[in-house]
Amino acid sequence: MEDTMKSQQPEESSSGFQISRRRFIKVVLGFFALLWGAVTTFPIFKYLTATSDETAGEEVASVSLGSADAIAKGTGKNFQFGHKPAIIYRDDAGDFHAFSAICTHLGCTVQFSQEKNNIWCACHGGQYDAASGKNIAGPPPKPLAPLNAAVVNGEVFVSRAPAAQSTDTDKVTEEIPG
């Protein structure tokens, strides 16, 4: 485009004014090109990054998992915590331990493995201690984000863990409130 501009310019004189006018036009054109680019790109960019309510999901403070007796000692199960997958484990003493089921490695959903007696991720073989959520084997770099599990009148409730408890897992907890 610049070349056509140049060729259209009358080459009648080689005075300094001529050159500066060319330069002026170049700068103005460049400015408008940038402006035009920004004006076109911005709406497309905003359009593509718009987050609708549909994806935001519901904010959940706690969920009930029903009767505590339904979960046998030494087993675990996956459940839905708001719009995130979560996992609960009942240890041999009968206590409950709940975590986000999002693997801290690459975001797969973990599960309780009876055979390994810990929490295991099928994608890349990461393992976590079922009682503490600590990463114990494989590629995961961090423990699972903890959730609070409590038994009230024989019913299991899982709620968000206080933020202070999970400072070392801030990346994961960040995803939990969603």
Partner: protein, 362 residues
Amino acid sequence: MSTVTQKAYQWLDARLSISAWQAMAEKKTVPHHEFSVWYYMGGIALVLLMVQVATGGLLMVYYIPEIASAHASILKINTQIDFGWFIRSLHSWGANLMILGLFFHLFSTYFMKAYRAPREITWLTGLGLLVLCFAFGFTGYLLPWDEMAFFATKVGIDITSKTPIIGEYMATLFRGGPEVSQVTLSRFFVIHVFVLPASLLGLLGIHLLLVQLHGMSEPKVFRERPKEQQSVEKFFPTFVLKDLMIWMLVLNVLAAAATLAPWGLGPEADPFAPAPAGIKPEWYFLAMFQILKMIPAYVGPIEGEHVGMLLFGLVGALFAAIPFLDRHGEGKNHHLISEAAKWFGIVVLAGFIIFTIWGMLE
């Protein structure tokens, strides 16, 4: 030729210069030597691409890019629509065979050192096309919305998010939010059927134009032969007919594969279920998958998957840079660089094969 066809030919010839094109094609020659077989790899990928375009268009007639219906619509194509299973199998098998063909094309070009001047841009557009094909594979994999696809996408996007600075942003852009959801499916669909085909068309145009412009690259053993021993064959009709014969063969292999081993469909994705045991990506991502699995959580102070990404990025960057590093007899170290380039290729290829097989066996 009857007078009617003769007249039609003359009419068209006057407007399209057919005879001039034909004369050009007949004048064009292709080197004929012991490595000539590798010249057909690009053509194989091309014919499989045409199959992808045709079958992809047909699949779009019944496929519904909506999470409640996507899986059911593929199931319907597979079980209820006449020849639906065949069209879908051709598409899935074709995609995999095309990537296989591209690997053969890539490595044969690499080891024949066809990337050297003046073919640097041909090489780079070829690498770009391979990346586009990986993107085709990755986005297309999600569309049936089965559980393997769901977790493969989750992991794939999470890997993207590990890219420094822009990673998290790009991941959100692909996902369209914090989760793999309807928005993700819609985006992947648009990328798969519009963005990638449009990009591919442009890049492939340049690639093919450059191949015609430069002609076939001659390997060193051929170039060093005395002139009278450098045998060549006519591009038209000899090479073209051989090409067509190979295409027929490839199409037959594809049809046989699609018929004898129709492509299946896993259970529908459940975003809250754990990842299924034995989950694996498509074979061409398996080597990377296996390496990611083996890297420990931390290598020194760096997170394991960052090390993996760095490794893959480095290999990719070296492949892109190779035409500028390994040039025709320039500089005093060129023999050394040429050898190094060859061994780098051998190591990458061997690593790719070993880790892929390892991943399959696990």
